[in-house]
Symmetry: C2
Subunit: 135 residues, 2 copies
């Protein structure tokens, strides 16, 4: 197990996922990055668990006029056997505010990834919260 190369591969995969999510077109492509049992915890909302619920969640977000999501992961930490990992990220979600003007909420996330039997990394847990308010 070449952990350094596996770490780079995971970060590259996450960056492809971020690019696809930012484009906001390919729902099935976006869904393919999660494990079948993935759990996503949007702040202040019920957890979203499993592919059917995640599909509704992604479709709902992409249907919001002006919705845009981006993230960048800076660190990937892998178990020594290269089977489990976590990434630290910063993200931004843009949506129209009460006056219709776009508002971007910035946060930081931890995602947990499993390398599944087919050798591919998929995200099993996604938890984030808000950055401090701008001074």
């Amino acid at each position: 197990m070449d952990l350094d190369s596996e770490r780079r591969r995971l970060l590259a995969r996450d960056a492809r996922w971020a690019a696809l999510s930012s484009q906001g077109q390919d729902v099935e492509g976006i869904l393919a990055f999660w494990t079948d049992d993935a759990q996503v915890y949007p702040p202040g909302m019920p957890p979203v668990s499993g592919k059917p619920a995640l599909r509704r969640y992604v479709e709902g977000a992409l249907a919001i006029p002006g919705f845009h999501m981006t993230w960048t992961s800076s660190e990937a930490h892998l178990s020594p056997d290269g089977r489990l990992a976590y990434l630290l990220s910063t993200n931004g979600v843009t949506m129209p505010g009460p006056d219709g003007k776009p508002v971007t909420t910035r946060g930081r996330a931890v995602t947990v990834w499993r390398r599944e039997p087919d050798g591919e990394w998929r995200c099993a847990i996604d938890m984030w919260n808000d950055e401090p308010a701008e001074p």
Copy 2:
């Protein structure tokens, strides 16, 4: 590596940490459950990184009159080599509200743990956000 027994050991250790934190007396005892490079992400606040910053954070929280924190972890998932793990938890933080009456904020957390060279599990990442508001 008996993963089932390691998983139970980790959950028991987390439960001891929660009990100690809930008692709110033993700052050094609470700190001992984090790795030296641990990163904690309180919602809407800057990340708290490393033991000196965590000591100030814990001391500051415990100095708030009426402060009380509890959590319960329901799931522990370990890498096959038993070196990295994540736990899913629900938590509650109680503090006096604007009128002085105690207010409890309920959330859910993901914590990431490493089994360090001495064989002990310690928490490296702690991220949580709020539950949905009560209807």
